[in-house]
Symmetry: C3
Subunit: 346 residues, 3 copies
């Protein structure tokens, strides 16, 4: 799949500066892109690298004098990059529409037009799947769960019973949706499971990575808001409610009944204690541990997490503790010297 630089410019709606005759077959990073690759610059700090780049063309917001090759000027580099990546995406066979003969489909299942159900998929009674959704090989969907249209469940995803998944949702391989949460009462000398009658609701345009877990609610629902994106190996406990357009990076753990507002960003390995509320737009740095409610707009860091700037200062000071103690010793010596002088006078 190749395009000339001029053809690519046209596809991207870009202004072409320079020679449009070169051949482009792929997108590549500034450092390694060759003459048949288009690269991109989304931050001025990469200008020096761009000037040395061997890329056959660059997608940019404005012209860089030092880059000799052709430049494709666009309003939104991110958007044009996505388009270019789509143009040069590896060609893959589309999963065939219809139900693979090795799939096992229960009673009262409604499968809409254009759906692809892959090999050895198991779909239980009462399930509904909307138009054009793709259920890859090895998935299991429990009783009465409902998927919207244009969804994609990758291989070996497990969705338990009574879950609701919206439209345009992507769930990657080996992820589990609707498992029973970790709720026990200690009665008569042993931990008794609290039955989980509740459900999971995943709204439109949510994307969930591989090997994640989303537990169903004890009662009511665990809910993931529209447009929220979740990385791999993330844990969402029972009765958690996540707002819209949040970003949860890899290995984040959210304990039971937490409530996240819209646009919350949790970096990798962040953990939230149970029952806390996180306001809209909160940003939490990697590996932080949250034990309290957080007001909207805060930036947090640390274990336990506090205001990020304050935490950076505290961390800096702890690392100066050896010097601090040295200063304390010196002060003590000076005081002793003054005291001794006082005593001498007496």
């Amino acid at each position: 799949m190749g395009l000339t630089v001029a053809q690519l410019a046209e596809r991207l709606g870009a202004e072409l500066v320079g020679d449009g005759s070169g051949q482009i077959n792929a997108v590549g990073p500034i450092e390694t892109a060759g003459k048949n690759e288009v690269t991109f610059i989304s931050d001025d700090k990469h200008i020096a690298a761009l000037e040395k780049s061997g890329a056959g063309a660059v997608i940019a917001a404005s012209r860089t004098e030092g880059f000799a090759g052709p430049q494709l000027l666009v309003k939104n580099v991110d958007s044009a990059l996505i388009e270019a990546l789509n143009i040069f995406a590896p060609k893959l066979k589309v999963p065939p529409t219809g139900i693979d003969p090795t799939a096992k489909i229960g009673r009262d299942v409604k499968i809409a037009a254009g759906v692809s159900v892959g090999p050895v998929v198991v779909i239980d009674d009462g399930v509904e799947i909307g138009e054009n959704s793709i259920i890859a090989a090895g998935c299991k969907i429990g009783q009465n769960s409902k998927l919207g249209k244009n969804c994609r469940l990758d291989s070996n995803v497990v969705v338990y019973h009574n879950c609701t998944i919206g439209n345009n949702v992507v769930i990657q391989a080996n992820t589990t949706i609707g498992s029973t949460g970790f709720g026990y009462s200690f009665i008569d000398g042993s931990h008794k499971l609290i039955p989980h009658n509740g459900v999971v609701v995943i709204e439109d345009y949510v994307e969930i990575g591989a090997n994640c877990c989303v537990d169903r609610a004890k009662f009511g629902e665990t809910r993931i808001g529209a447009g929220t994106k979740i990385d791999n190996l993330v844990q969402i406990a029972h009765n958690v409610v996540i707002g819209k357009c949040c970003l949860l990076a890899g290995m984040v753990g959210i304990s039971g009944s937490c409530k996240l507002g819209d646009g919350v960003v949790l970096a990798g390995q962040v953990g939230l204690a149970d029952n806390i509320e996180i306001g809209d737009g909160v940003i939490v740095g990697a590996q932080s541990g949250l034990f309290r409610n957080v007001a909207a707009g805060q930036q947090l860091f640390g274990y336990p997490a506090i205001d990020k700037r304050e935490m950076m200062r505290v961390i800096g000071l702890t690392r100066r503790l050896p010097k601090l103690i040295e200063r304390l010793k010196q002060l003590t010596v000076r005081i002793e010297s003054i005291e001794a002088a006082e005593n001498d006078k007496k």
Copy 2:
């Protein structure tokens, strides 16, 4: 599935205070329960919320004057709640007894009466499964592994060879039992795997969440004690021995050859270095990192973890470091002033 309040009281063995004629269809939380839902109160701090609740009835240990609806008085609210949740659990089709025709069963396999083996399950030679156990779709059980009765393996669980699982054990979807542990010797310039001849033993009434890993032992066994409950995405390394009735929350990681006593509670994302011993009843706060043995009954927190109360004090003081340094500066100024005065006198 509905009951009148009076019928529900009878089922729960509760003393009914108030009108028993209302209809109850579900359990709901205090804040959102409607007139056809029963709620519960397990802590006096929720009394204010209960007084405002629109629930059709409440399960409680003692009467709350401010709640106008009918009250179901019981000795143990937790226990009655579990019973109520079971009564109103969503009705699901029970997995059919017998072996699905798409399952693949090896030689010398013993499957007891009442067992359900789901679609595309693979059971290797020499496996034994006890009465009434349910092996859901897509599970793989390795050679010679033995499951007790009343177990439930959810979809896509993998159990390797020679593992022993007791009675009434639940393992949720996508969990792996009996994988080879992370044990290497560096010989002649490369890491050579130490063969794992050992096994995994999971005792009665253990419950393990989704997407967990329990490694087999190098020699001897990895063991999880009776009644221990394990949340999602938990890692149990080779040769770990866990006592009875422990609680391991989500994303806990236990390194090789650790020994946990009975009743140990590890909160989310806690990590244990290898070869440490944790006494009975130890409670460890979220995200803590343990590098040393811990005596029975301790409460720990922090990274590295120490006594919880001490750690809270240390954390509080580190956050006062900016003020501390300010005080140190002021003291220095005062000493300089004294020294200057002394010098003036000379």
Copy 3:
């Protein structure tokens, strides 16, 4: 499977000191090994335990006077231990060569001699699998992915399209290779996925534990260097490049575009922020969080991680903060006393 001590000595190429007539059936740890088990001693600190051991024989580098049983003296105890564990490994039926009839194989698939493809495996178009590799039950291999020879994919492993796996690679159950990474651009009010055109390359002799995730690159490749070993529940993000012979313990998380040199060791639950470079031979303690580049040979610890020895000192001092503040108070009192005396003189 038993051997006499003399036979075992011969198999291990060991010098036999003592009686060779005893029967050995297994390897056991010093503390619990019985008379039909051989144990081993790899560190002098275990000599006292060895002297009390009931083992039927010991593998050792040099003679221990206090141990009464036969001793098998070898140059490399680690190497002999591995050999002994292999000798006494539990006997398992080898997976049959050939393609199970329930496997589903796409077009233009090349499967070499000696390969075993298990039940309900799904292999897409254009896949190639090298000699003697074992694809266990339930695996899914995406279009055009290539595996070398002598590989072992355990049950339910998912490999997406266009991935390249070398020779002698082991991937344990429920692991996901080649999932789309967590890369989004915020455009017009929502997070848009950056297409992941890149691939995953796993070099020879890499071993990956259970329930791990290795994301494919946005462009170019995610690469795991030859001989690197990875524990369970590890996350490797898009465009990460890992060198040769690294060790990544359980629950390690490596963010996008990180570069690790050769021989890097990351202990359990360590996290790396994106785009950082870790030099050859760096060793990072458990639960550490890395946010900056690290030069070769460093030993790091902490959150955020710094030089390990410095961090241990800082941690020690933070825990002395209560005493430090006490000292500061005392100094203040002494200064006040001096100041008061000065004032009296005026």
